[in-house]
């Protein structure tokens, strides 16, 4: 139990650090301006994150059943993945 609490405390500290750095970066983002007429490249499908979500989800499903980690891509329900 003690180890579990220590591990959760460690995770909380790491998460706090990430959130702090993110908040700083987010405030810097307020200084950035890319005007609509400059977005031709950014609007291209090849510049989209997860441009083919079906393909990405199917690959993530395989990886989550072959690795001990998960997350960081999408929120979804569970499944056994026993095999």
């Amino acid at each position: 139990m003690m180890k579990q609490q220590t591990a959760i405390g460690g995770l909380a500290k790491q998460l706090g650090f990430v959130v702090g750095v993110t908040a700083l970066a987010l405030s810097a983002a307020g200084c950035v301006t890319v005007r609509p007429e400059q977005r031709a490249v950014l609007a291209d499908p090849s510049m989209q994150f997860d441009a083919d979500p079906g393909d990405g989800a199917a690959r993530e499903h395989v990886l989550e059943n072959r690795e001990g980690s998960s997350g960081g891509r999408s929120v979804k329900g569970g499944g056994c993945g026993c095999n």
Binding site: A29, V62, G68, G77, G78
Partner: protein
């Protein structure tokens, strides 16, 4: 064929029922088939995953979506895990299995002025597992649409079938399932146990220059309940005593992923680099690094190549062999596992995707009905190196996997 006729009829009715001035695109249909294969002489695992998603947008501010997918799994699996000191013949204990998981989902989304809210319900079932999940997501753009933030939460109410041991039974006397027969049907020596899942995720997508965009994703998950494989036993004593896998009932998982996309105009190619770090309360530390490059071969056809490297440490209670006299109050004395995904490992994945996309305007639709059509074909090779895991001292042979996927999308 009959299904496609019904779908075409339903789509035609939908198109005729909606006034053309309301919205140009009213439906999006995306069927897909994926295959994962491990060409090993022992497990020869094959997973066939057909799926389809339908999204209908009756007004500018509302979309309704539904989906279906299945995992048709066959192969052979070892139901007993022993390590290098084990005298039990593990490899020849592998038994053939077949199972099918089906998943149905449905939900809706509301959208207005760059802000979107969506909710989805998913129901999944297989012979030994039931899943009910709800997911809600909110997203908005601001700072002249240079910044997009999303928040998502998912809650799963799952059940897994096990043998009918009492919670008060000692872990070393619990035994695994030998089959899913009788599961969720009050069968003899069968019991459904709860698994509660909470997922949280936030994403921040930012454009920095006309060629550079980044995305940061923070993820957290809480898992509580029966988190073992109900079929797998582990050799836990030198005399060969076996017991059902015994994992902690709680697991907290965190992940942070950062990706950047940069378009090099001189090469007319979009490059992407990503890194993800993962940590959980079972003491697994995972690192993922990815590289991608995508360019147009013609105005409709683009080619993507990608490489991925992954590495993880072992869970605190992981051991290849539990018969070596671990202290009873230590992590390897209280818990035991035969799960290779909790062992130290690294893997790489190499692959590519060809994607064809054709668009049309509302007056000149493709095949008279479609505003857009997309077809994608992808292939990946995945190789895993298990640093400690063995089946009774024998290194597993099923560490090479192949993944292929064919997807279509029609926008009507």
């Amino acid at each position: 064929m009959q299904l496609s006729r019904h779908f075409a009829l339903a789509l035609g009715l939908l198109l005729s029922a909606l006034p053309g001035r309301v919205l140009a695109q009213v439906a999006d249909f995306a069927p897909r088939a994926s295959v994962f294969w491990e060409p090993s002489g022992t497990s020869h695992l094959l997973v066939i995953n057909p799926s389809a998603e339908l999204s209908v947008t009756p007004t500018e501010w509302l979309d309704v979506h539904a989906g279906y997918e299945a995992d048709i799994v066959s192969g052979a699996t070892e139901s007993l895990k022993g390590g290098r000191l084990s005298t039990v013949d593990i490899v020849s204990s592998a038994t053939d299995f077949k199972d099918t998981r089906q998943q149905f989902s449905g939900g809706f989304g509301l959208q207005r002025d760059g802000t979107k809210l969506s909710a989805t319900y998913t129901y999944g079932r297989e012979s030994d597992y039931r899943s009910n999940a709800i997911a809600v997501q909110a997203g908005t753009t601001f700072l002249q649409k240079n910044t997009e933030l999303t928040l998502a939460y998912g809650r799963g109410f799952d059940q897994v079938c096990t043998t009918a041991f009492a919670d008060s039974d000692g872990a070393s006397v619990k035994q695994p399932l030998d089959s899913s027969k009788g599961c969720f049907k009050n069968g003899d020596n069968r019991k459904a146990r709860e698994v509660d899942l909470d997922n949280f995720q936030t994403g921040w997508t930012q454009t920095w220059t006309p060629e550079l965009a980044t995305q940061l994703v923070l993820y957290g998950a809480l898992q509580h309940g029966f988190l073992e494989n109900p079929y797998r036993a582990v050799v836990i004593a030198p005399a060969g005593d076996q017991a059902l896998e015994n994992h902690p009932d709680n697991r907290t998982r965190l992940a942070a992923g950062l990706r950047a996309k940069y378009y090099v105009r001189s090469l007319t190619t979009a490059f992407s680099a990503g890194a993800r770090i993962y940590r959980d309360t079972w003491d697994i530390l995972g690192q993922t690094y990815e590289l991608e490059a995508e360019r147009y071969l013609s105005p409709e056809l683009r080619l993507l190549a990608h490489a991925r490297y992954y590495r993880q440490t072992e869970a605190a209670f992981w051991s290849d062999d539990y018969t070596g006299g671990e202290p009873e109050d230590g992590p390897r004395g209280q818990y035991w596992t035969g799960d290779r995904e909790l062992s130290p490992l690294w893997s790489y994945m190499l692959g590519g995707r060809l994607l064809y996309r054709k668009e049309a305007d509302p007056q000149h639709r493709l095949l008279s009905v479609m505003l857009g059509f997309e077809a994608s074909l992808s292939f990946d090779l995945m190789k895993t190196a298990l640093e400690e895991f063995t089946w009774g001292g024998v290194e597993p042979s099923d560490t090479l996997g192949m993944f292929g996927s064919l997807g279509l999308r029609g926008e009507f």
